[in-house]
Symmetry: D2
Subunit: 336 residues, 4 copies
Amino acid sequence: MIRVAILGATGYTALELLRILLRHPDVQVTALTSRAETGHVVDVHPSLAGRLDLRFENLSPHELAARADVCFCCLPHVASMESVPALLSAGLRVIDLSADYRLNDASVYEQWYGHAHTDSARLGQTVYGLPELFGERIAGQNLIANPGCYTSTSILALAPLLVGGWIQPTGIIIDAKSGVSGAGRTPKTNILYSECNESISAYSVGTHRHQPEIEQVLSEASGHSVEVLFTPHLTPMDRGILATIYAHPKRAASLGELTTAVREFYSGKPFIRIVEHLPRTKDVAHTNYCDIAVRIVRDRVVVLAVLDNLIKGAAGVAVQNFNLMCGFAETTALIV
Amino acid sequence: MIRVAILGATGYTALELLRILLRHPDVQVTALTSRAETGHVVDVHPSLAGRLDLRFENLSPHELAARADVCFCCLPHVASMESVPALLSAGLRVIDLSADYRLNDASVYEQWYGHAHTDSARLGQTVYGLPELFGERIAGQNLIANPGCYTSTSILALAPLLVGGWIQPTGIIIDAKSGVSGAGRTPKTNILYSECNESISAYSVGTHRHQPEIEQVLSEASGHSVEVLFTPHLTPMDRGILATIYAHPKRAASLGELTTAVREFYSGKPFIRIVEHLPRTKDVAHTNYCDIAVRIVRDRVVVLAVLDNLIKGAAGVAVQNFNLMCGFAETTALIV
Amino acid sequence: MIRVAILGATGYTALELLRILLRHPDVQVTALTSRAETGHVVDVHPSLAGRLDLRFENLSPHELAARADVCFCCLPHVASMESVPALLSAGLRVIDLSADYRLNDASVYEQWYGHAHTDSARLGQTVYGLPELFGERIAGQNLIANPGCYTSTSILALAPLLVGGWIQPTGIIIDAKSGVSGAGRTPKTNILYSECNESISAYSVGTHRHQPEIEQVLSEASGHSVEVLFTPHLTPMDRGILATIYAHPKRAASLGELTTAVREFYSGKPFIRIVEHLPRTKDVAHTNYCDIAVRIVRDRVVVLAVLDNLIKGAAGVAVQNFNLMCGFAETTALIV
Amino acid sequence: MIRVAILGATGYTALELLRILLRHPDVQVTALTSRAETGHVVDVHPSLAGRLDLRFENLSPHELAARADVCFCCLPHVASMESVPALLSAGLRVIDLSADYRLNDASVYEQWYGHAHTDSARLGQTVYGLPELFGERIAGQNLIANPGCYTSTSILALAPLLVGGWIQPTGIIIDAKSGVSGAGRTPKTNILYSECNESISAYSVGTHRHQPEIEQVLSEASGHSVEVLFTPHLTPMDRGILATIYAHPKRAASLGELTTAVREFYSGKPFIRIVEHLPRTKDVAHTNYCDIAVRIVRDRVVVLAVLDNLIKGAAGVAVQNFNLMCGFAETTALIV
């Protein structure tokens, strides 16, 4: 039985983590931290009534290490890199859901996040927790950088075609649509119901922080310098991401060849489904699946990928990483 | 041409007021106030791009009086009664959209709002701005208390049957469902998209402040001491209120008699529509209409009423009051 | 391993049944029937891609009996009573999700459903599958009448207070709000997105077929002749029912006493949660829980209950019945 | 006073037309046709209760000509070209909202719509009713082809930059997101509430009929052979279209130059607003505005445009065409 703590446990990702971990046969959740909240878990997450008898606490790394073996760190960026070194020193294994350990280069981090990185020695040394690409490196790690939600969708859609040399590594357009839960649970005007409902809009055009992450991971995976234009959109739904991706073919290929290439790339990967139909975010809601379809339109390859931003885009993949890290079957607690 | 100012102009009601006043042939909007916001109107209300070239300002009553003849006061309660006396003294006519001048009794105000009333001399002297009931008193007034949204829905549904002696004044149950815009635009966790979407729940059961307002006005209108049990619900939609109301009949009546009674009560009232079908909030969205239907089920009279909480429940009725106050046709700018 | 067939497997309830049964350790789904559909399950239910390799078939009772031990019958009413006798004769055990075996009296059935009952000998003999009330009768049955969604919500909320003699059995008002999935998957104008979205309305006021079912079961459970006024509302959300219920107290009681009475009534029932806060449909979405809260307002007892209409209101309780019928732990596959 | 008839008056576009025409000072709506419906307008459009006392009728062209001067034809494609010649012969002026008279080439029509065109002599002779581009040709016409909703959004966004030679005419990607009302009011499974809600997906990838229309009009306007890759998406909201468009620059230009070019192109056009912020569909909902913003990201020009698919994308532009056709001010009844 692995004892698990969740840091920053009041948000939506933490709630999904709790739901998954409560059904994990080898896990006991032993601590939930929050800086602001001191109440019972049910006060913040009423859907967990009767499921878990814990309160939110403000715990030091040593207090946490006394109670838990593994930490899921759901703190925001910056807060995360301020906590992780001490957690590791205290002997905890950490799955970090923030962006703080995803990028390899401290200057790129500083450029996109506006903060100097305070634990830069770990950049480039930390395994990027996308199991479909880097699964064999995850076992035995003490720190995993859990990927971003838009990032996972984009990388899972593009990796097979880039690695296989089917599409050009530059000129790629990723037009992504996300549900509102991706923006978190801290009250802000732009995520009020009456602002988001009945409305779709782009945001952070050309400036979203998932762009360098996508490029870094795809470049590393494919051996080519990948360049994408990434446009996120806020969509009036709770959860789900759809990425509609446009790429130039690198060599002539039929739709059958492309689909087969993607299918074979993910052969044996339990959470990737290559589908014939056009995927809907609803088809993967509340699951750890990523559904991918390919089309050829005129002179372009169009890839469509959907996943649940809170599950496969955050909490689900975190548990997938946890399973690999700790030697459990990859799908434990993740196929329901 | 009447010069109009809006106080507290950053919220949803103010936005709807602006939309209506921009099409009013006898109005010029000359000032928008805000304590926090100093930008251009389009920064807060992008739907007004190109419609209105004003900035938010923090103006004193005298500055306002120099610019405007009539003020729509969209401040929250307490803030309103702190401003209104000075506005009136400065010579402005005021339509107050807060709750501060709706109740007749300072002690009832203090009990439900938790603040001593600081302008209690005007309580009981201020006309309650529900034109269908008190229209003839509005002309020429300098201060109008604009009614609450749940209140208007409930009163419009019940007044004809109570005044006509068709139903018992006690034991009335009002089960009301409102869209989220009724909760305002100040960021709070409970009105985030990801909290409200895909969810309905009751709130303030037995403690909502519109209950004493409903009872006061219906008691005054009918001459009986009216008692209601009022339950509001937060519904996943932008706008609209549906009140489903259950009352005991006072004397035997057919559905035809009841419907006729309601229809005759509102004869000549342009914004009340007595309908045969079961009304939907969508049917009155973005309009100043209130649709009402009556049913008899077993031993109860069931009244169903819908209106748009931001229009007929707030900004629309405010302009209706403005029209009557200033001598314009009641429907000016309100039927589109 | 129990072999299971689903009849009428193209609808939303069948989809939820499949999701639950796919995680049931003692079940193998062996047949899916449809009169109209002949394709693969993924063509109709794309969320099941890769989960289940079955096609829809039009199978006779004997073909079904050769393949399955238990049938979940998701046919509409009338179609169900035309099929169930032959299924039973062929040796299948049946959980019927239609209304055909819920009422005890053929004349009541005919009055509310507009069809003469063609298998009336089984009326009054069939166990009503609400495990929290009739759990001990379910083991070993060959036919279970699975309850309606509004019905379950209403009965679970009211039974403890009626059975305990805390509230009057008459004059009860049930104001219920349901998500749109409760209306099924057959295309009709009134359930189009553009009709339901941004709108709430009552429907079937005084004529909804769940009313006699609620009264029958509560009368049977409490030993009093229960009379309710039931008003359903179509709410703009996928799933969830909230019942806001108003009853007259039968004897003086504090809120503490009432809450304790409800809690004790459901002691040991794993899917009923008595909560202090006002329950939201979102808190029970995708779960088999029913959350119940009690309030006293003026002279009324107000009970609020929420459940997921497709799970605890249909597919979840069906599997709960299945578990009891077949001797599995009641919660098998139902707490995730 | 112009007498107006609406053909195919039961759909969403017809409802919006009615709302607009009811406030038009120079219009009297005198006939509504439907093949299936014979009831009163309020039976189908309850929001029009009390506004219009007409029934749906099945009228011949000659009966229509006796009652009306101008017809808005809201029939589906094919049905439209079967009706329009007789309407014109009977002396009516026609604004056709179907696709039947938009394309210049009968073979292109046949290829994309799967029907031989039966009135092909009028193809290429009919003015395409996009007033911002072809306004000066509209006055005095007897037949106008009202543009498609995706088409208008895309053309309005791209025309200034293509005409001005700022972007390449090929390699353009249009990623468009539409609310569900664009799919009409005929019951089909894919537009049920429970299918669309909480889901976004692409559809008709590479095969949507608005693609050739966009290319034809933009080629004609710019004098270059324009090629676009158009991907529509079904978005969980009632109304609104957002087009996110990616183009290659043709010559070096700053964001300021591009924005100015677009602004000047639409100088004097009352319904086009060039905005600095990223536009949201909500900002133009229920209006005849199209909001456009430009960005430069890496080596691409990104144009974002929003409009209300039922108003500026259908009924609003139809009335704009009507105003120009009949000599009324272009904005009559369209700015509220």
